[in-house]
């Protein structure tokens, strides 16, 4: 009797998590499947399998510039993450080592910055970017991305540097290293896990960032993937297979990286709860 109840319970538990997994998987699988269908079969039989592996939709989507959007996204994400990690690392280190209360006060100011969403300052940020002549500049887009990534990264590094063993630093100082040299040669090389965690977290957010890219990048040649793939919808009003092919090209690389490195992604993003 106990045995049977145990089996029924685990069936329910497996059923629940299994069904949810399936519910998540089906739309992603459908995206890939529909990319191989023809426009005709999409209309006549939306849930049927594609007749053959038609790669034409991928060619049409590629023709809109998905490759270029991808390069732009890689460029913007990489640069932003580098800037965020370096600037936040320096700031957090200075804040944890400064004598007196000024460090804590500035830290609180940066924490306050974390609470401010870009959606609430859209008009002035646009005015500043357009006033500075930064519209349609991928390099300039890095600046607001960095600004909005810095607060959380400083919070993360601040906690990490506070717990950092002082003995190592003191040893370097006795060897004649300045504060900055100590930071470069001792602190940074030993901060691998914190840097990796911050970099993954910011990469996911910047790779997918939409609203600023929508405002700043209006010329197709400069668009990143999230705004670029919207072009697909405009370009192919009823060509859903091409839209799905473009989405597959845009999302599959990051999904694959995620599956391969999921342990690190999960650890990095779960850090938000701490």
């Amino acid at each position: 009797m106990e045995q049977r109840r145990f089996k029924a319970t685990s069936l329910v538990l497996y059923g629940f998590t299994g069904l949810w997994s399936l519910m998540v998987l089906i739309p992603i699988a459908y995206m890939i499947m529909a990319a191989f269908k023809t426009k005709r079969s999409m209309f006549i039989d939306p849930i049927g399998w594609p007749d053959a592996l038609n790669w034409e939709s991928f060619e049409r989507a590629w023709g809109v510039g998905v490759g270029g959007f991808m390069i732009n996204s890689v460029l913007v994400t990489f640069l932003s993450v580098v800037v965020i990690v370096i600037f936040s690392g320096m700031a957090a280190y200075a804040l944890t080592r400064m004598p007196g209360r000024s460090g804590q006060i500035i830290y609180l100011l940066i924490v306050a910055g974390f609470a401010i969403p870009v959606q609430a300052v859209l008009v002035p940020v646009f005015q500043i970017m357009s006033g500075a002549g930064f519209l349609n500049s991928r390099l300039a887009l890095v600046l607001p991305y960095a600004a909005y990534g810095i607060p959380f990264t400083v919070i993360l590094f601040y906690a990490f540097f506070l717990d950092f063993p002082r003995e190592l630093e003191e040893a370097a100082r006795l060897d004649g290293c300045t504060r900055f040299q100590t930071f470069l040669r001792v602190i940074l090389p030993l901060s691998g896990p914190a840097i990796a965690s911050a970099a993954i977290f910011q990469s996911v957010f910047i790779w997918n960032e939409f609203i600023l890219a929508l405002l700043i990048l209006t010329k197709p040649a400069f668009k990143t993937l999230p705004v670029g793939i919207l072009e697909l919808q405009g370009e192919f009003t009823s060509d859903w297979p091409a839209v799905m092919a473009g989405l597959t090209l845009a999302t599959l690389p990051l999904l694959l990286i995620f599956v391969l490195a999921q342990k690190y992604f999960v650890r990095s993003l779960a850090g938000l709860g701490k």
Binding site: T17, P99, A115, A146, Y148, F180, N208, V259
Partner: protein, 301 residues
């Protein structure tokens, strides 16, 4: 933060040290000033004026934009929709996230990592892509969902899932849950894994197993993480933009308008920058209030 054990403390050294700290702080603070703090001041200042996207002259209107906003039906619809998304997301994302996390933590063994990976995966897809995928799935003509619904003998909504103003916001809520429940699950799972397992063994001896153990042991031991999860979801619910912009654009007839999309619409489609700023200030106050709450709870934790 005492640094008294410094062997060399000549005053020249100290000044150089101070300069180093200032130099290390400057780049981050400069970026924050230009793109976060100055915009906050500008959005408040600009909310007191009437001006367009390219207009050079600003007309001072005092609190006129706020009066206009509070008398505007769409503003209240947007705020109500934000609240629907906040409360709905807490129920769906935090609720199901907690259940999924609890089951993955202790309920199932086989395929645990696989299921965790799958359920979390939508988090790394951009909301734009998620929106477009669902736009096609829910499409009244070519969408597979309608085909399935008709296949089992039911009638799908006549105006379409996203085209019917009475249900569209709920459909958007469902899409958001599809994307973010996995994130909440992972967040909560991290908290659950820190709960020592022998508590459950001790409780089992007292007769607390299964659902009872979940209620009396699991939930109280992750109380703090649940509060953080609820706060993150609440902030996210007020900031929502991408998904709605792509799926419905705030329509039909403003039925899915939220503060974010309404600010964008007023500022960049209609060109009422001052009015958009006034709505922005409302959003800003909500966000800062929630941020303050978050800080208070994390201090306590």
């Amino acid at each position: 933060m005492s640094q008294t054990s410094r062997p060399r403390s000549r005053s020249g050294n100290l000044a150089a040290e101070k300069l180093t700290y200032a130099a290390m702080l400057t780049p981050a603070l400069l970026l924050l000033a230009v793109f976060v703090f100055i915009p906050v001041a500008l959005v408040i200042y600009g909310s007191l004026f009437d001006f367009g996207l390219t207009s050079r002259d600003w007309t001072f209107v005092g609190l006129g934009n706020y009066v206009e906003a509070f008398g505007d039906d769409v503003f209240w619809i947007a705020l109500r929709n934000n609240l629907i998304i906040v409360i709905g997301s807490i129920v769906l994302q935090v609720g199901f996230g907690t259940l999924l996390a609890a089951v993955l933590d202790r309920g199932v063994r086989l395929g645990r990592t696989l299921m965790r990976t799958i359920i979390f995966a939508p988090m790394v897809i951009s909301s734009v892509a998620v929106g477009l995928i669902w736009l096609i799935i829910l499409d009244p003509n070519v969408g597979p969902l309608n085909a399935v619904v008709k296949g089992v003998g039911l009638t799908p909504p006549k105006l379409g899932w996203l085209g019917d103003p009475s249900i569209s916001i709920w459909v958007v809520l469902g899409i958001a849950a599809w994307q973010y429940t996995g994130f909440m699950m992972v967040l909560i799972l991290a908290g659950l894994q820190a709960v020592p397992k022998d508590i459950y063994q001790a409780a089992a001896l007292d007769g607390a197993t299964g659902l009872r153990a979940f209620w009396y042991i699991t939930l109280p031991s992750i109380r703090n993480i649940l509060i953080v999860a609820i706060l993150i979801t609440t902030v996210g619910g007020f900031k929502v933009f991408d998904l709605i912009f792509v799926t419905t654009g705030g329509g039909p007839a403003n039925s899915t308008q939220v503060l974010g999309t309404y600010i964008y619409l007023q500022a960049f489609n209609i060109g009422e920058m001052g009015f958009a700023n006034a709505i922005s200030v409302v959003l800003l106050l909500i966000a800062v209030g929630l941020g303050w709450l978050q800080l208070k709870t994390s201090r306590k934790a």
